[in-house]
């Protein structure tokens, strides 16, 4: 962190001083480098050099800073923010407690302080056009592209309820309260009329609950709460922009009549529906285009960006909600495009979307920090404090009221913790600042608004953002008193929860099933035929699986886990048989607590609590799913392939049964022990399927796998490791790609050891850091 800060400061000093020095430099450069000057005769000869200079010798070295100033400083700022992120992420503990927006604002403040001290002005590039045409679409594209569609559509009513009605409630509530405050002469803000108050209120009620999402994931709120806050953050951008435009228009009017309000509402609906329509059209056109791009893979990602940007611009042109258009376009497009384009294009698109969004958001926060220090502020204690108060209060009340109304309609009602999380997690973010900064100057007291919104943003981001985690943890811990539960209860309840979520998925979703089914049929029959290049009737599980496996195979090769040259420290492999016959261990309370802790940290979350879309600044995190899928992929693949090859059941069921007995942990046993485990699990694989247990096959696979690689000496450790190791990642990688061609019988011979290798070395390598804790942890 220190070196980065140093680098950053150096860069900053450079770019600041460069701005001032360019004039002097362009002068001196001509002097010092003109070839006519004798380098030894510097000082007294300078006046003599000037007539030589008048001949305009070819300047060998010049420096023209103003030419590159704007892009240079832009690049510097983004680079600086990226350094800060690197530095921040090195200290993981910090990122848990402090949200990233805090970080960005702090950096902006520091930069602003430096600029202010060198009396430099920030480039006046953040105006309305730049924001609305260049920065906002990037942020919105990111939200729309990575939106989790399934939970969203299942909860669309609730999400829209909170997003639309909630934002309206907040805006109007805050606006009217502030207007009431303005009536008091003592505060000195009488000249702000109702429209301006409403305008300001609509800006201030935009929430950006990114930080809250991280905390929610760790605490574990149910999926509905999660998607509500996510959707709210997404949609109130749209709502706020519409309200902003409406109120700006109204603020310019001297008198507001009730017809204007009606027209406003009508406009709102037209705007929203129109946006969705535009988005759909562009989305389908984009999907259709990608059907033909197989020959030009390099420019495939371009289409995604071009079409979404087009949707945005065209909607802007017609004054329709461009944000809605962009979101709808992204959602529609994503599903079909990701099937049409190549894997690398897919990855490129995702990364570029994230990068652009990060740049945009970073710059906005930077401006926030810089503007905070460098501009003239109009500070009015009363107005600002009341704004803070009302923002907080109205959001809280709004949440309570709205939840009361909608809870009866929901399958899973929101409890108090959820509501508190929703209310408290309403941080303000970049959009709020950008909107207020780009207010037309015709609004008097604009400076007050800017100051007030900066204050609100800073307060919510720093104070609420940092404190939400401890508060929610406290509230949650009070409810589930983990120490009282026995280990049994903890394990078995988690088992039951997994079972429940599995059976729920099996039954499908109830209330929307009819429409979902209808849409699916329409999709399969019409849309997929038109829009997809290869309309493989591939089930989603196979494509999901292939995608995850491919990524994981590549990931394994890249990650340190794939580097098997460094043999992990040898764990003393406990002979499990000995443990079982050991006299019963005494478990201290501390051990039990530790077990609880280990379990709670490591047990897989239930699907509802696993959010692939936790952090706005990260790509979706598939790692839990990947792990589970890798661990299960043998059985999944076998049953899928069995279906396509029509193998007799007796041949493939045993393998999946065999899979039940083989867990990554057992593979670490020495061969004798491993055989023992197989033997002991022979009964399980026998009875459920009533077919002869292919014990011999099990042994031979293990035998061939092990005998070739393991020396006969007891610790199978490093040699076996190194030998088997390199096959591991390739194994799993090739395993995925070998899918169609090979015959079924070949698969297990290679698949099994490879699979186990893959899992083994995952297990062992994860074990190694904890090697020291092994014997002592019991």
């Amino acid at each position: 962190m220190g070196t980065f800060a140093l680098h950053a400061l150096l860069l900053l000093a450079l770019c600041c001083s460069a701005g001032k020095c360019e004039l002097q430099e362009s002068e001196t450069s001509a002097q010092t480098d003109s070839p006519g000057v004798d380098p030894f005769m510097s000082g007294p000869d300078e006046p003599q050099a000037s007539p030589v200079e008048d001949r305009a010798n070819l300047p060998v070295f010049t420096m023209d800073y103003p030419r590159i100033q704007v892009p240079f400083e832009f690049t510097m700022w983004v680079l600086l923010a990226s350094f800060a992120k690197i530095g921040f992420n090195i200290y993981h503990k910090i990122t848990i407690w402090i949200p990233e927006s805090c970080l960005l604002i702090s950096i902006g403040l520091i930069v602003g302080a430096i600029m202010h001290s060198v009396k430099e002005e920030p480039p006046a590039v953040l105006n309305s056009n730049v924001f609305f045409l260049y920065m906002l679409p990037l942020i919105v594209l990111d939200s729309g592209y990575f939106m989790p569609t399934r939970p969203f559509f299942e909860n669309v009513g609730t999400v829209l309820w909170y997003a639309v009605v909630g934002t309206l409630w907040n805006s109007i509530g805050i606006g009217i309260s502030l207007f009431a405050i303005c009536q008091f002469e003592v505060f000195g803000v009488q000249d702000i009329n109702l429209q301006e108050n409403l305008l300001f209120a609509s800006i201030v009620s935009t929430v950006d609950p990114v930080a809250a999402l991280n905390v929610f994931d760790d605490i574990g709120v149910n999926e509905q709460t999660y998607i509500i806050i996510f959707g709210e953050g997404l949609f109130n951008d749209a709502v706020t922009v519409v309200l902003y435009n409406m109120f700006t228009f109204l603020a310019a009017l001297p008198v507001v009549e009730s017809t204007d309000v009606f027209l406003g509402t009508a406009q709102f609906l037209v705007v929203a529906a129109g946006g969705v329509l535009f988005g759909l059209v562009f989305g389908f056109v984009a999907a259709f285009t990608t059907r033909f791009t197989h020959g030009v893979r390099q420019i495939e990602p371009l289409f995604v960006f071009l079409y979404s940007y087009l949707a945005y611009l065209v909607a802007e042109c017609f004054a329709i909600s461009s944000v809605m258009a962009l979101i709808t376009c992204a959602i529609t497009m994503k599903y079909y495009v990701e099937e049409n384009v190549s894997q690398s294009s897919c990855t490129t698109i995702r990364h570029v979307v994230k990068m652009l969004a990060t740049i945009s958001e970073t710059l906005i926060f930077f401006f926030l920090g810089v503007v905070t220090i460098t501009t003239e502020h109009e500070w009015n204690w009363a107005y600002i404090l009341f704004t803070l108060l009302f923002a907080f209060v109205w959001r809280g009340i709004g949440m309570l009221v709205l939840t009361q109304i909608i809870n009866p309609f929901r399958t899973v009602p929101l409890n108090f913790t959820d509501q508190f999380g929703l209310a408290y997690g309403g941080l303000r973010g970049a959009i709020c600042f950008a909107l207020v900064f780009t207010l037309p100057d015709s609004i008097n007291r604009k400076d007050l608004f800017v100051t007030a919104s900066i204050a609100v943003i800073t307060f919510t981001v720093f104070i609420q953002g940092i404190s939400i985690r401890p508060i929610l943890e406290y509230m949650n811990i009070r409810k589930t008193n983990k120490d009282v539960d026995t280990i049994n209860v903890e394990i078995h309840t988690r088992t039951m929860e997994h079972v429940l979520s599995g059976v729920e998925d099996l039954c499908g979703q109830w209330s929307h099933y009819y429409w979902k089914d209808k849409f699916k049929k329409f999709n399969d029959r019409v849309l997929r035929r038109i829009l997809l290049r290869h309309n493989r009737a591939e089930s989603s599980i196979v494509s999901l699986y292939k995608r995850l496996e491919l990524q994981s195979a590549i990931g394994l090769l890249d990650s340190p886990m794939g580097d098997l040259g460094a043999a992990p420290s040898l764990l003393p492999l406990h002979d499990e048989r000995k443990e079982a016959t050991r006299p019963k261990k005494k478990f201290l309370a501390a051990d039990v607590r530790k077990m609880h802790h280990i379990l709670s940290k490591n047990m897989y979350n239930i699907r509802q609590k696993t959010m692939a879309y936790t952090n706005k600044y990260d790509l979706p995190d598939d790692s839990q799913n990947r792990e589970i899928l890798i661990c299960r992929h043998a059985s999944v693949r076998r049953s899928l392939r069995a279906a396509s090859f029509r193998q007799p059941p007796s041949q493939h069921i045993p393998r999946s049964q065999k899979y039940f007995s083989l867990q990554p942990g057992t593979a670490l046993r020495p061969p004798s022990r491993g055989g023992d485990v197989q033997h002991r699990s022979a009964p399980p694989s026998r009875s459920p399927c009533r077919s002869p247990v292919p014990l011999e096959r099990l042994d031979t696979i293990e035998g061939t796998g092990r005998a070739s690689s393991r020396p006969s000496s007891p610790p199978p450790g490093p040699d076996a490791w190194d030998h088997r190791g390199p096959r591991g990642p390739e194994g799993s990688g090739f395993g995925g790609r070998k899918a169609p061609g090979r015959s079924h019988s070949d698969r297990p011979d290679e698949g099994e050891p490879e699979d186990r290798d893959g899992r083994e070395h995952e297990t062992l390598l994860w074990d190694s850091p904890r090697g020291g804790g092994g014997p002592g942890s019991g």
């Binding site: 078995h492 988690r494 009533r690």
Partner: protein
């Protein structure tokens, strides 16, 4: 699709299933349409592949076990009756559970729910959860980050807490006893909406 489904399922069958499982008429028809949509082979039964095709089940750590629970011993096809019989375990317990006269204990009683969970662990049906069986399920649930020693200790502790007769495994009665404070009815119930 709705009307097509109910014509394939005869009224008498619906009545029988109703008696056996306690589901209502509309619930049964809905579940039947789900059954048929899963049944890609369209032969009136589901195989394991049909279940594997559900993506959410694929990323459920206990997916294999759950799927296995649907298939009676030794078979790999399950018909609608069997499907419903298993799903009946997850019906919420209502206060006026007097409907089912065919079976002495309804399928969704607390004991039967616990038995379902117990059978997830106990693959060999010897009415005991041995240490290895427990370890298997534990390993499925915790992923790759816990060492074998730690997991072994956790399994030991689990058995120690539950085992009252000293046979180093958990019998069904011990299982019931150890979960007596847990609201199993709520944890193993799905609200099947109309």
């Amino acid at each position: 699709m709705g009307s097509k489904a109910s014509t394939l399922l005869r009224e008498e069958e619906i009545e029988e299933i109703k008696k056996e499982t306690g589901f209502s008429h509309s619930q049964i028809t809905r579940l039947y349409s789900r059954f048929t949509s899963l049944d890609k082979g369209e032969n009136g039964t589901l195989s394991r592949e049909d279940f594997q095709r559900i993506p959410e089940l694929a990323i459920n750590p206990l997916g294999d076990r759950i799927i296995n629970a649907f298939f009676p011993e030794g078979e790999d096809q399950v018909n609608f009756r069997g499907f419903m019989r298993i799903l009946a375990h997850f019906r919420p317990i209502e206060d006026n559970e007097k409907k089912s006269v065919a079976v002495s204990e309804p399928l969704n009683s607390r004991t039967n729910k616990l038995l379902f969970a117990f059978r997830l662990y106990d693959l060999d049906r010897d009415d005991k959860i041995s240490r290895e069986e427990l370890l298997q399920v534990l390993r499925m649930m915790v992923g790759v980050n816990i060492s074998d020693d730690q997991l072994g200790s956790i399994a030991d502790r689990t058995i120690q807490e539950a085992d009252t007769n000293g046979d180093n495994s958990i019998s069904f009665n011990e299982f019931i006893k150890v979960l007596e404070k847990v609201d199993v009815e709520q944890k193993m119930s799905i609200r099947f909406l109309h």
